[in-house]
Subunit: 710 residues, 2 copies
Amino acid sequence: MQTPNPSPRASLDALFNPRAIAVYGASSDPTKIGGRPLDFLKGSGYDGPLYPINPKSAMIQGLPAFATVSAVPGPVDMAIVAVPAPGVLAALEDCAAKGVGGAVVLSSGFAEVGGQGAQWQQQITALARRTGMRVVGPNCMGIINVRRRILGTFTPSAAGFGLVPGRISLVSQSGAFGGYCLSLIRQRGLGLNLWITTGNQCDVDFADCVNHYAQDDGTDVIMGYVEAATDKDRLVAALALARARGKRIVLMKVGSSEAGAQATASHTASLAGSDQVYDGLFKQYGVYRARTIDELFDVAYACSVARQPPKGNRIGLLTVSGGVGALMADVATECGLDVAPMPEDAQRRLKEILPFAGPRNPVDMTAQLVNDLTLFEKNFQLMLEEGGYDVVVAFLSSVGQVAELSSNLLEQLKKVLQRFPDRTVIMSMLASAEVRKLYEAAGVMLFDEPTRAVRAASALVHLAAEAERAKTLSAPPALPAGALAPPAHAINEIEAKRVLASAGIPVVRELLAASEDEAVRCAAETGYPLVLKIASADIAHKSEIGGVLLGLSDEAQVREGFRTLMQRAHQHAPQARLDGVVVARMAQKGVETILGVHRDPVFGPVVMFGLGGVFVEAFKDVAFRIAPFGVAEARAMINEVKGRILLTGLRGQPPADEDALADAVSRLSVYAARHADAIESIDINPFVVLPRGEGAMALDALIVPRLTPA
Amino acid sequence: MQTPNPSPRASLDALFNPRAIAVYGASSDPTKIGGRPLDFLKGSGYDGPLYPINPKSAMIQGLPAFATVSAVPGPVDMAIVAVPAPGVLAALEDCAAKGVGGAVVLSSGFAEVGGQGAQWQQQITALARRTGMRVVGPNCMGIINVRRRILGTFTPSAAGFGLVPGRISLVSQSGAFGGYCLSLIRQRGLGLNLWITTGNQCDVDFADCVNHYAQDDGTDVIMGYVEAATDKDRLVAALALARARGKRIVLMKVGSSEAGAQATASHTASLAGSDQVYDGLFKQYGVYRARTIDELFDVAYACSVARQPPKGNRIGLLTVSGGVGALMADVATECGLDVAPMPEDAQRRLKEILPFAGPRNPVDMTAQLVNDLTLFEKNFQLMLEEGGYDVVVAFLSSVGQVAELSSNLLEQLKKVLQRFPDRTVIMSMLASAEVRKLYEAAGVMLFDEPTRAVRAASALVHLAAEAERAKTLSAPPALPAGALAPPAHAINEIEAKRVLASAGIPVVRELLAASEDEAVRCAAETGYPLVLKIASADIAHKSEIGGVLLGLSDEAQVREGFRTLMQRAHQHAPQARLDGVVVARMAQKGVETILGVHRDPVFGPVVMFGLGGVFVEAFKDVAFRIAPFGVAEARAMINEVKGRILLTGLRGQPPADEDALADAVSRLSVYAARHADAIESIDINPFVVLPRGEGAMALDALIVPRLTPA
């Protein structure tokens, strides 16, 4: 660690696991930004040497101080920097010279204020890249390692330590958010391992931290807050690594609304990709996206306590209140869990145990439970054995507030848990902190509120299914050998479809006719009824000028149609170069979908899928994924949109050829990724999916080439 | 109160405000069901006499006991009955003879077990009706009046009292749910007034309790749990009265899923109306339907603390964390609140106060707030004055955990609140119980979690808007004088439309043709292109057998069409009586909607509205209301469905005639209500809404008459 590692992205070990820590700008006043980390570290029980760095004092907070870090006798792995902005660069130069492996810059006054501050920040980045010393911040809240008792932060939420070691590690781009989370972690008694806020991310960014946590044996659950990624490849690699290592990732990403997006833009000035693209990215890499802070904590908590990932989505509900049982069943159903009934025979046996019980599922033990706790063990055992539930949520009202009741209950529970080590058990009851800890130690999580218990169950099932799904993902298909390059200029729809066809995407059979007579000849070849469309690279939205005629059924209509289209083109788009008309046989009956590609400023080519008609426009019912991806991912994308039900064969229609659709979506992603720099957007609308076994085809397509940046 | 009131539905005053209480089946063991209420009442500080009733002991729990209530010397207004089921009726007879005004039957073993128990319950009901004594339960958890310190319950959640007097009253059909809520009320320190669980509802039901709370001056907020109503008229009257008296109602109703509905059915055996119908009822009467227990409590809490209902939906967001600010903006937008930006000039002034602030909305005070609390007052004042927000939600992280900080903050807050008495202020911060109480006393509510704070703001805005809306509701329109009665037997679609037209619902102009030649003559009258449909009272779903031909454009097609339809009818429905074919001009371009009526077992005729196409089938995107209702309610119903966007003029289409649509929906409700007993269902599909000013019309209709019950 004494020798700087010149590799541009060294490990974060020096930051999280330092042998010794220096505090630059250490203050004797423990309420100041430069005094607080020292005060925290002194009191927390950190086992390494602490070196206050301050040229003005010989002693700071009772410790011998040094004028610069170079004056420190022993090795220093990590430096906390709290000097005012103008002095930060010099302090970091000293650190790098000393061989410090990582520095945490708490000071503000950099990119977030612009001007000179932004320049200083660029210089810090350059220093980090040049020396390999990792720099966190500036303008951040710092870093925590609970096991090592390192509080490298000035957030008041860390005062008095009060943290319990555990399997969750947190990374927050926002310092205030990170501090608030720390308070919640203490309030809830969550077990924490590492904590970091990345601030302006001059060097260490969100992706670095996910990457570090992915490789950290002490971390099972990665909890995070992200505002804007800057480096797609490293973020994707980190998420993929975390998934491969079996970590559970629960993230919050804000800015789904315009007001929210503007708020994040104003306070970090970083270029955020579209919110829906993040959503697609998270789905792609099995990240659980929390929509509230309660949810962020509930899911991370559940992941950290659960003994095993649930094997399936069968949920058993045990309750002392029929009403709460029904409520839990409602929410479980809404979450897509299977509230499967108990087998008939088991229901009979439950009735024998408790004649007034509701034996189906939810299993209602009624208030009798309180009179006879053995009921719980018997019911519970029967549910796991006969019901075969992957997860059981038991609602026991306020039983957990009575210490004796709840410890008896736990003893019974433990017996059953031993017999069924692969099942997940969640209790919903009001309980004291002590009771809570005992249950958690046995792998049983507790929620006050029953719907939150069910949602936590759903999250565990979802994350487990995602982990399984990851193992089955296919590689993106190879691009066909003869695939054409994207055009360098605007092309008409026939040419666009030819390009797509070369990439393996099925397109409608159609002909280009430059004259009326030629249109009639083409019509004879394609057959009636047919469609006639203006062919022009300059007219992107043909239907808006009446440039599409449907259902023409004889030669006379074709002749008249040709003349009509030419006239409309001249009238509405007099400057447009006309190639003639497209003649195509009317598509067989199928389901209209829309396939698209657009360039995201952060994530590059992104593929969109949605159903045709009003679904995309009115309901924003679309799915996104980062290109490229395989057929299995395309299927997941298709399953994600609500309108997918139209593909399953509604109203007596035959089911649509989803295989062909998924294949096309995946091939589109491969083509888009291969030519990321040459394509601005692709719009295939409609892409018609025919009945199962009959394929699918693009009826219309638009490729907008990307102008090479000057 | 000594004389029984023979009116079948006497007030519940005797129950909630008794001068003296008798406990039938009083036990010396304070853990028994008959011992616990006495133990609770002795310890709670109830100021009236307590009379244990037990023939076997002279003294119970230190009080003189009586063999029967008739032996009690003074008046008794309320009796708690805890004797085993076989003795309950006799106890109640004694009570009625004594002139007891109300009895609470805690004992179980009645309708919920069936057989003899069900018969006993019927006898209790008959007794209550005959004597006017109000009976709560059986199989219930009892009753509480916090101000009178009456704990007429055996729920362990009441042990030690621990309740704070307040403006919330609770009614729960489920005892276990009610007990759990009581624990939560204590845990959260909510101010409670009255509490009741209705159990088997042999006499006093959910509607009675809502009615009582509606008239209770000590109640502002009615919180409830309902499983199944039995008497529509009394429930509707109670909800309407509560709304008229300015009460806020927050209810939970379970059973939206099949598993949930089955669970409630199994444990109460009462016939529940469809969940979607309840949803419509709640919307109709301004009831807030909570979907989780957290939400039930959050909204009731917010209503009980708020100083004034918000005047509008402009929300100002103040934050110390840009990330949380963005999160709150996302959620507020999702809830339909207006996150309007601060005026430009005010933004400039905010920047002067704090140069690094985000001044737009959310207003980001950054962590600077902690260093300079006056920032809060200044920012806050500016937001109310210049931003004109109806509600402000301020996120202050964990400031409330520091007593001095938070009391300083409150002093500043109070100054501003005085100047703006009509604004609602919600704080989101972690806070101690003491801090919480101080803020609440000032009318400021506190939430740990910022998204829950925003959702509470949204609920307050929604409830205030509903209260305003109630003032503008129009009466249902009068039924036209010449309206036809519903048919007594199956009729064809032409006849069905004639009936609907007579009720003021516009229908398409069409003719009935019994022969091929007549069809051609009709066609000449209606004009081309036209539609031909089989006319038969016996074929309800014509399109399924190919019985509808669209777009016929000349005489030859009409002749061929007639023959085709006759042939299909003979082939697919050989038994059907055929009236010929319906000839109708093709509808002008409009938006297809579906209007329906069905009989709900509890609520009678219920009107359904949805968009045509896949919206109803695939997305269940429909709205329900109990008939009859006026045009304003019909409008609310239309606004409720997501597909409504199709009526607003998508893709350059003209906006649809929503006035005509709302009028028709309202008229349909009037007709359905007038003939509630004669109609099983009405299905108008499609009901086409033409461009604004051009009206709307039913293209097809089906009326299913109700067979008179034998």
